[in-house]
């Protein structure tokens, strides 16, 4: 039987991570699967898990009154999903919906937080892997927020 730790080792998130730490955090992890259309989590819910997407695509959505659910980011294989576990009061802000059949590793946030508190080295290794993708998403979100396409593009038209 394939151990969760082995699956974890295959994910880009654990690249360069000490073997002991992988085994340690594997204790908080389980393998999960979502069917197409199924919600991974919903906004407002308590953030019990964060996910490492192994295969598939998850759409992050906001529900905009009058316009319905709007997707603002698609998270694909190899990427991380869910950052609410880092920010009290630990509630999901957005809806996450599997666009296709999706497999992921789910980490129990309480468990992981405890392990990070107990050993700060573990905590730091987690942060080193979380922060860069989040910062990149922040940069991209800012680019999306100024609505570059709204005011016209290229040489076509005045």
């Amino acid at each position: 039987m394939i151990e969760i730790a082995d699956i974890l080792r295959q994910h880009p998130f654990t690249q360069g991570l000490d073997e002991e730490i992988v085994d340690l955090i594997a204790g908080c992890a389980k393998n999960v699967v979502f069917r197409e259309g199924q919600y991974v989590f919903r906004g407002g819910e308590s953030a019990e898990y964060f996910f490492l997407v192994r295969h598939g695509t998850v759409a992050l959505e906001m529900f905009v009154p009058g316009r319905g659910p709007l997707t603002f980011l698609t998270v694909k294989s190899g990427e991380i999903l869910g950052s609410a576990w880092l920010l009290p009061p630990y509630r999901y802000t957005y809806d996450a919906r599997a666009v296709e059949l999706t497999r992921a590793i789910a980490f129990q946030c309480d468990c992981l937080r405890d392990k990070c508190e107990a050993d700060h080295h573990v905590g730091y290794e987690m942060m080193k892997r979380f922060m860069p993708p989040l910062i990149e998403r922040l940069q991209m979100a800012r680019l999306q927020s100024v609505d570059v396409y709204g005011q016209g593009t290229g040489t076509s038209g005045t």
Partner: protein, 272 residues
């Protein structure tokens, strides 16, 4: 320079505010292929005004010229409302072009944002027609939402070609969209190309072009292999009215296509 008046032969609605109009090529610059990819014409709506519009068709189809117009102002709206057989005034073609000949032997990235796909489409036609002469070719296309994507059927057809990598993304979407959501640069890691042997052609909003060029530079593509298409206010298109100046360059004749290393310092400055 007086405009030539030609009849609109075909009118295609691309999106809610974007129309492509086709005119016959007769009477315009002669020779093999009346225009080069990246060039533009000045289109005149009778009694309303004249604006620069990218030529968006196939340069090898010498008998017709396609223009893709986004209706945002009085002139472009008037152009977008032209019916078959109505007359449009044409001056051109003007401007510099995408370096499709110079890119032979390289991997080519064609990166478009929004309506920026229109002036890049002629380059793509050329690249596909001359396919064996290039390395890997990829199209990365981003728009605001799925409704704003141009040439959707054509892009879908291109996606099916094994010899072309195609990645499409939008800034936000409703449930109907099953593709990527996010900015264009997010797709770069998913595309196969050798940064040391790549020519990139980017067209879109200035901010998008700058961020994309920066991401390409991070990936190892040198600025002298990146090309952007600049836009400025134009009245004459022949370097005499002064409006289109961008540093010492006249966008109408030194551009609109610029090699990035030649303009990156200007682009870093505000209000130039």
């Amino acid at each position: 320079m007086t405009p030539r008046f030609l009849a609109v032969k075909r009118r295609i609605r691309e999106t809610a505010d974007v129309i492509t109009i086709e005119i016959p090529a007769e009477g315009l610059a002669g020779g093999a292929g009346p225009f080069k990819p990246g060039q533009f014409n000045m289109l005149y709506a009778f009694g309303v005004g004249e604006v620069p519009i990218s030529i968006s068709g196939d340069p090898a189809k010498a008998d017709r010229i396609l223009h893709t117009v986004r209706a945002v102002g009085p002139v472009s709206k008037a152009l977008a409302m032209l019916r078959r057989n109505e007359r449009v005034g044409v001056r051109g073609p003007f401007g510099s072009h995408w370096p499709v000949d110079e890119a032979v032997g390289f991997d080519v990235l064609v990166i478009a944002g929004g309506v920026g796909l229109a002036p890049l489409r002629p380059a793509l036609y050329h690249l596909l027609r001359e396919r064996p002469r290039y390395g890997r070719i990829a199209l990365l296309y981003g728009a605001r939402s799925p409704e704003d994507l141009l040439f959707r059927r054509e892009v879908e057809a291109w996606r099916c070609l094994p010899e072309l990598q195609v990645r499409v993304t939008v800034d936000h979407a409703t449930r109907d969209w099953t593709g990527d959501v996010g900015v264009v640069t997010q797709m770069l890691p998913k595309v196969r190309f050798d940064p040391l042997d790549t020519v990139a052609m980017i067209c879109g909003p200035e901010l998008m072009m700058r961020f994309t060029a920066a991401s390409l530079a991070d990936a190892g593509v040198t600025p002298d292999r990146i090309f952007v298409s600049q836009e400025r206010n134009m009245k004459c298109a022949i370097g005499m009215c002064g409006h289109c100046q961008f540093g010492p360059n006249f966008v109408c004749k030194d551009g609109p296509v610029f090699r990035f290393d030649r303009v990156m310092d200007i682009l870093k400055m505000r209000e130039i």
